[in-house]
């Protein structure tokens, strides 16, 4: 769990409730032995500067290229895009829906992210995906704009599952991490 800045504590609570052990990552050594990484919601500018300051950017890129699962929510999506870490072949529009007054919550059907019932999606000054490369799979859209995308083992969401009471996204991510560990050579 990247803990430079943002709502990482909410992610950790969700991980705990799905039976996964989460630890805070603030420096490169904290990444050792992790099965997966979450880039939380927060201020992407602040987190991005923190990643550079703490020599974490390169390490996170390596982590993703090794095929270890990564989940990015909101600011996390921005950080995964081409302009920052470049782990996802997407360009994003920041604050795409507007400033805080335009922030909203909405129940959306995104079966590939949360099978079954609709998911309570909370959008806070949220980004959307403006353009994506051929290897990127769009899992969910809102008003014609992608808000959930996957490329290999990396999943990015415009909204904040960690702010909802629904554990399905974290449950699926924890399972993916367990599978990646048992199938990998780590």
């Amino acid at each position: 769990m990247l803990a430079q800045q943002g709502d990482f504590a909410s992610h950790l609570e969700h991980l705990a409730s799905v039976g996964a052990v989460g630890t805070e990552v603030r420096e490169p050594a904290d990444l050792n032995d992790l099965d997966g990484l979450i880039l939380p919601g927060g201020e992407s500018t602040t987190i991005s500067k923190g990643l550079e300051r703490d020599d974490l950017a390169e390490r996170v890129i390596e982590f993703g290229r090794e095929g270890r699962p990564i989940l990015g929510t909101c600011a996390g999506m921005i950080l995964l895009a081409r302009d920052h870490l470049g782990l996802l072949d997407i360009s994003v529009k920041r604050n795409a829906f507007g400033r805080q007054r335009a922030s909203f919550e909405e129940e959306l059907e995104i079966p590939a992210v949360a099978p079954g019932n609709s998911f309570p999606c909370i959008f806070i000054r949220a980004p959307w995906v403006e353009q994506s490369g051929p290897e990127v799979e769009v899992l969910g859209e809102l008003d014609g704009h992608p808000i959930a995308v996957r490329q290999g083992s990396i999943l990015a969401l415009s909204f904040h599952p960690e702010l909802s009471d629904d554990d399905r996204v974290h449950g699926a991510f924890a399972s993916e991490c367990r599978e990646a560990r048992s199938s990998g050579d780590r």
Binding site: E43, T45, T46, K49, R99, Q100, E105, I122, I124
Partner: protein, 294 residues
């Protein structure tokens, strides 16, 4: 159907600011410096608290043109202050699309009895508190974030420490009470019973708790995080110091790495002079901003 301005959407932005530093800025240039240093938001105001103290007179909401200039200069959230109880100032700030309103004791109060009904607004509010009862009253009025009041513009952390300890100690005390004792505790706190019950059960406020009022050094920032703050507001401490750019960056670093003394030490080197600061006894009774609001 999309719903705006719900409590979850309001506290959601407060959640996003956690672990970060919100910096007071008086113009677009300072806002850019703050963003470049890693601030997670800026507070747009005409004078930092240290200057409000020095100049005296009535301190009011900032000029809308200045707020717009700052909104155009940075992409991080922009907050602005309204006077306690000044509904119309808050409406103006909402119409300007600021991201967060601080109903602040740093400005001259407009209403001596009533705070703003914050449920009436779509954008979130942060309010200051000196103890748990005050924090819960503000939450009962719809605040989406609480900050310690501290004593703004003094560069002296002592009052923020007192307020943070009052709030977190109050939360711990509630946790020791039985269900039958909570109504009486709510009466003593002067706070809504429903929220008192929620805090007693969860062991924390239903909204994020930040520190404000007196942070001047990286170590101050680390101290407040260790005492339970989930993020820091820094007002005069940055732009009243010798080298605002470096100090801003250092306070951001110390807020992230608050539990690592070596990182706080490294961040504290070669910063130039901090703001001079004021001893509390030199303020006199009239000089205490924290006593505004109830």
């Amino acid at each position: 159907m999309a719903e705006r301005g719900t409590f979850r959407v309001k506290t959601g932005l407060a959640e996003m600011l956690k672990g970060g530093v919100i910096m007071d800025v008086v113009d677009a240039e300072q806002a850019r410096i703050a963003e470049e240093a890693g601030a997670c938001a800026v507070m747009a105001l005409e004078r930092v608290p240290a200057d409000i103290r020095r100049d005296g007179g009535v301190a009011r909401m900032s000029n809308p043109a200045m707020i717009r200039g700052i909104q155009e200069a940075v992409s991080i959230p922009v907050m602005a202050k309204a006077r306690i109880g000044h509904i119309a100032e808050a409406q103006v700030l909402e119409s300007l699309d600021v991201d967060f309103i601080d109903e602040s004791e740093v400005l001259t109060p407009a209403d001596e009895a009533n705070h703003i009904d914050k449920f009436e607004f779509e954008i979130p509010f942060v309010c200051g508190a000196t103890d748990l009862g005050e924090a819960l009253r503000r939450i009962g009025e719809g605040a989406a974030m609480i900050r310690s009041k501290g004593e703004a513009g003094t560069g002296n952390i002592v009052e923020a420490v007192r307020h943070m300890r009052e709030i977190t100690g109050g939360i711990r005390r509630l946790g020791t009470l039985s269900a039958t004792e909570l109504p009486s505790a709510a009466k003593d706190l002067g706070a809504p019973l429903e929220i008192v019950r929620e805090v007693a059960t969860s062991g924390w406020l239903p909204v994020p708790l930040f520190c404000a009022g007196g942070i001047a050094t990286p170590a101050d920032a680390a101290l407040m995080m260790q005492l339970g703050a989930e993020g820091n507001f820094v007002g005069s401490g940055i732009f009243k110091s010798e080298d605002p750019e470096r100090r801003a960056r250092a306070i951001v670093e110390a807020t992230t790495h608050f539990a690592d003394p070596e990182r706080v030490a490294a961040a504290s080197e070669a910063l130039g002079d901090a703001m001079t600061g004021i001893e509390m006894s030199a303020l006199g009774d009239d000089g205490r901003l924290a006593e505004r609001g109830w």
